[in-house]
Symmetry: D2
Subunit: 346 residues, 4 copies
């Protein structure tokens, strides 16, 4: 059985394992006040060309989304995202339970658009009653995932347009980068880490899905955006006691460009996987240049490979075909792609 269900199925990059062993019995102070966290922060700021950015390390994605949104928004404001946005779906209401409404607008290729935001805000502020927008949840932030939940990526021009609308309507721009590496190295991507750091107010660099055991590095480039971050992280239950475990992992990932190098492997494997499917006549449901591929398979093909391949059911395409998600990661090998393809009917 070969598994392509998701990108968080393996442990961590061997260099992290090695470092873990080396530092295991060194005693360090807790909560991120250690040398490894400090070093990782500096390397991340350098990689982002954002020397004054503030960097915080949290453990997982839902936690990080809930923290950032809660920390940035005024109490009564909401967060705009596409209807397929991760915070709007499989996060069990982790944003709402801090009091913030998730305001959804339709997606285009999984992406929010500058026009979509503009229309929402114009409608909101041109509301029918003169006092009515005082009764509605005001948009205070735009949340986007890069790459998106369906593997698509924003271009520099799209993100720049979004940024401009955010400025117009006084919205913070937050990028969920749970798979950030896979977006940056994607074919056709023209967004670099420094671009991202420059164009949004806060984003995070996903570790859990990109080489780390766990961990997300929140980068706040808009200073003063988050008051009192440490007690807020603590009260979210998100302040890891052994903070240096996070620092050590990100320090390793941001040494010698490891983060982007291993991201490239995932994308290369995904692109080859896509070609192999295409060559055999199977089309993709989404044109994704990143590590998540959504393949339309005839149901009998699906039944044929099921004993050997673990995938994620995405949705019914029509009566005879199904969309499945197949995901590569930093750890995927060409041999695993070979094996996957070998299970397809000749």
């Amino acid at each position: 059985m070969i598994r392509f269900n998701s990108d968080y199925m393996e442990g961590c990059h061997p260099l992290i394992l090695k470092r873990l062993s080396e530092t295991n019995f060194e005693k360090r102070v807790g909560y991120g006040y250690d040398d490894l966290c400090q070093s990782a922060r500096e390397k991340i700021c350098a990689a982002c060309d954002a020397p004054d950015a503030k960097v915080f390390f949290l453990v997982g994605g839902t936690q990080t989304n809930a923290f950032v949104i809660d920390a940035v928004l005024d109490a009564c404001d909401g967060v705009l995202c596409v209807d397929s946005g991760h915070i709007s779906g499989p996060e069990a209401g982790a944003v709402e339970c801090w009091g913030h409404k998730v305001l959804t607008i339709p997606a285009q290729d999984g992406k929010i658009t500058a026009q979509g935001i503009k229309k929402y805000c114009n409608d909101f502020y041109a509301d029918r009653y003169h006092y009515s927008h005082c009764h509605m949840v005001a948009p205070g932030m735009v949340y986007i995932s890069h790459p998106t939940e369906i593997g698509t990526i924003y271009t520099k021009s799209e993100l720049t347009a979004i940024k401009r609308v955010c400025e117009e309507f006084n919205l913070a721009l937050f990028i969920d980068g749970a798979r950030l590496g896979y977006g940056i190295v994607a074919e056709g991507s023209d967004l670099t880490l420094p671009d991202i750091a420059r164009l949004c107010d806060v984003f995070y660099i996903g570790g859990t899905k990109v080489g780390a055991m766990f961990g997300e590095a929140v980068v706040v480039t808009n200073h003063n955006l988050i008051k009192k971050p440490i007690p807020l992280i603590k009260r979210h239950g998100a302040l890891l006691a052994k903070g240096w475990l996070l620092g050590m992992q990100f320090d390793t990932l941001f040494t010698d460009n490891l983060y982007l190098n291993i991201s490239k492997n995932a994308v290369d494997c995904a692109m080859r996987m896509r070609r192999e499917f295409n060559n055999r006549g199977y089309r993709c449901y989404v044109d994704s240049p990143t590590n998540q591929q959504f393949v339309i398979l005839p149901n009998d093909v699906l039944n044929y490979i099921k004993p050997n391949v673990d995938y994620t059911f995405w949705e019914h395409y029509d009566e005879c075909n199904t969309v499945v998600r197949l995901v590569t990661s930093w750890a995927t090998t060409q041999e695993q792609i070979d094996e996957l393809i070998s299970y397809l009917p000749r």
Copy 2:
């Protein structure tokens, strides 16, 4: 200037004013433990043919919605409503700030449908990952407004079908009755107070918009639905110190059928208003049998009447026409309708 903006523009029915004067210097204990609240509860139970229902008096609608939903739902569950549902719009996130996601589905004539609920739940429980619905906000309740936000009403057969789906998926059924009287006495309505009490788990009888200065009477017919109601109401900031003010108003409204009688006046005025518009060639945007009328007016007509008539802008119909909302209440007089019509161009 004649005003038809809303149904909460006047004070209260004269019988309530009279009773207020009579009881003003009588000393009563606070928080609803008084004789007037007790009497009102008994009369409401009788009117609902629900002798064992529990009745609580709160002050306003948003407060009541937030309380009931918070009190009934399990912590991580959400509430299903139509996308035009009041809790999803102009309540400033008052449901979300107690931690509950509002899950919206499309409306049909402003109403939720049994099929819509069934589809949502089937999709939810047949989710793509075997563990995925643990990551999603589960529907725990259905919220409907009767009449709806656009004045339409549920039939007994519709509500019965909704109730059946709710039972199938273990959803509490909650009816927002901010304008309940206007729905019950509407032309074509076949739902009585006892029907409503029997078919839902909890509902409220709106006073603010139907004859009271303020006040909403929550009727809980599904016993054990709400544990520890009083401290919950208190912590919502919704326990009126002089609770007897609420008891006295509802006791008056539920004496000699006053509540439904004055509701009838609002509907009669609205029906006449509609006829007068129709007779002059103006169509309605919604076929509303209750006190809210949505009339499509040419923009030049609108400009013509604007100096004399206060209405609520609803939406642009097309380039030349606008939908406006005109609302009657228990206090509207035939003379006011005459005056309104007199302002229309001949």
Copy 3:
């Protein structure tokens, strides 16, 4: 049976009742955007000698405390109050449920002291770990009641000292004035409304216990303290639809000094009540110059008067004596005091 349980047992001042009748059928816009609210705001600002203060009308005390504390505090901060503070006790956790810890310090005569606040803050910021105060709830506000929960009052010099410490530690100062009138007109009080407005950042003028049917007027003198007040009030479920009912009541109370005049009556009655008890040899438990009196009564006296007098049990004084609370209000008459005294054993 004569009742002295509390000061919210009657309806409202006759001038309010009269005005209610006069304005009952006048149509007004909702949510506080009406002329009566505007007029009341102006009169309150004038009475406070605070022309630029912002004034909001809410319905009840617990609601107002929860709103103000939530609106003013940063998300992770707490509110300092005495252990007998109302928000720490009989408000059912209405402050905590908005996420804020109530941090208590010992009371002196029911009052917080400048030294107590200073000690708490010094201890807090000189905490044992260098990072530890990031793990603790920081004090962000001081809450005091004037008069206090046991009827005592702050002097101008005490309040000035508290204000100074608040400034030193960057704490907002909030005064719960549910019984404010009774404190201002108390014998020995040297704090006027303008003093209070000048010395705190936000306070409220209680209507429920001082002449109104219901209503509390929040006065924010520290501009920029509360961002986006209206949606915050709305989401607290605290925005009365018929806001003019609040405006009309406060407009009446702040016409011709009615608020303080009727407060004086309550205090005069309380002082006479105290003298009558003292003359008969009964001492007070607290030296309260306001409308709440705490009398130590032998248990046999208590049993003797119980059939005729309704009071609040406060606490057991010793095996043979009990402390009871007897409360006068704006509506108490000398005849009622006479009657009360007549029930005492000769």
Copy 4:
């Protein structure tokens, strides 16, 4: 410099490191639905002699406390703990921000007592107003730490008495076992894991401080105590994507009694440390039989050792002496104790 600041300064036990390497490239499903979690659950149930207990793995202590308290308590109820309880102090309000008040009572040797709980509850339910306890936060749970925040331990008889009072007042009993191993193997302890499992409703076995990199195993022995645990954990941001990392660690710790064996090492080192201090004439501030020692040191001694020893300042004992906390862990060696002692003045 030798460090005895805390017990979360090292990584993890070498057997965990080894296992981490071995399993690193095995692909596993996420969120705790894997074989390692399953195996760990079974071993924990066996060790607790609680075959039907439900076991959940979370990441850290504050997170676990917030989750358990939120999951167990009714919305408006509070949690009783000693004033020195961890949830009442350095958790940044993580309990309050889920809406629950922390109700404190005085500690005896850092411990809550059955009598203290009983007195609190009796006072609460015998409240002065007949309706008053509806306005107060009701105690719904007792929180204790074993060992306590100052290293003391409960005896079986004490815990049994507490359990009995909890049953009497319908309170859930929750044990914070962040350092549970160190309590169980302490000299004089008569509480075993099965005792603890039997005597409380829910507890957790701390991994972060006892051999794991991170992780806390929540054991729910009172079935039906927590409805819908997975979405609740998810919405707390506490559901680790790579759940098997937690399962693997606890599976290792509960193989061949590793958890208690390494706990014993910490206690042995602490006992020797204490003896060495005592032999040199330094007394302890608390009689702690566990891995946290609180030594009273003359200030000049403290200054003398400061360049070489890292400790935690606890409090000023008097003008000339200071209480410091010195903490051993599963990783402490006799050589480290030797070194610590060697820095003391002869």
